[in-house]
Symmetry: C2
Subunit: 177 residues, 2 copies
């Protein structure tokens, strides 16, 4: 299960509470990679603790529990990350599904939709680019790992945006028969 490894990975960067982990899934992680709400996170943490992959290292105010990965958890995570995904990895992307189904629309509708996609992805790329410029000034030297993910998102948006523009052109090219 991917949630298992997502939690191990997040805890490997720093010990956190379930509440903080929940917030992490509301950011880029949930946006591009995997979603989870607190209602799946809390039970999963309990299961991981039972399996000895994580442990509660501190209990703070308001009943908060800080979890940390154990050595066994770290080993399990590395195993998962380094083992090539045996079969094809599972991908579920509603936005991409829409693109696959473009053929069900007439040309005008398809172009309208593609224009919207091009605009919104370009906009989101701009946002990420602005964030990168800011962060670039503050932290010089080799890119942090978080920056790798951010750059991934940026390039992703740029790619989709330019693809959409290309697709519009293709659809508008009159038939040569």
């Amino acid at each position: 299960m991917s949630l298992t490894h997502a939690l191990l990975g997040l805890l490997a960067t720093r010990p956190q509470s379930g509440y903080e982990l929940t917030k992490a899934f509301e950011g880029d992680l949930g946006r591009y990679a995997w979603q989870a709400g607190h209602t799946s996170i809390y039970p999963e943490l309990a299961k991981l603790a039972e399996r000895g992959l994580v442990e509660v290292t501190a209990e703070g105010a308001r009943g908060s529990k800080t979890y940390d990965v154990t050595d066994a958890g770290r080993a399990e995570l590395r195993d998962w990350l380094m083992s090539p995904p045996s079969r094809q990895a599972k991908v579920r992307n509603e936005q991409v599904l829409r693109m696959f189904l473009l053929s069900a629309l007439d040309r005008d509708d398809a172009v309208t939709l593609l224009r919207r996609i091009a605009a919104s992805t370009a906009e989101q790329a701009d946002v990420l680019r602005a964030i990168r410029e800011e962060a670039g000034d503050v932290v010089p030297g080799p890119a942090g790992f978080g920056q790798l993910a951010a750059e991934y998102g940026l390039r992703q948006y740029e790619t989709v945006s330019s693809w959409a523009l290309w697709a519009i052109e293709q659809l508008q090219t009159p038939a040569r028969t």
Copy 2:
């Protein structure tokens, strides 16, 4: 539910049996966008028929049933495709999750993993490029809708591959402190 609309979209391109729809999900559709096995497709087709969004237009050999979209189904599909995804669209991508969790690996492991990603995505891009060249000769004129999806996949792979190469460079740049 996305499966609903995936089926409506596939049937909108041409009437098909559940068996044929199942095959469609085994190709690019299931690879990049959405997966479904026959055990979810057959019951879903029955539900769609009950709601009047599809109908059985022919029954062939070996008990096969050919489904087609109704006008109501077409309207429902257009609604879904054209309505901007209200909240953020659901994305689940195990491969991307791995990239987000790179930070849990030491530098050497991370580079090894990124190299593998760069190589495999470049390879898959090559495959798609080869297919495009072939198809390009056969079907001149404006791109078919299927070609839009194929181009999308190609650009996606190229982007991930070049990102991985960039990420490796970043990790190998010595700290400037």
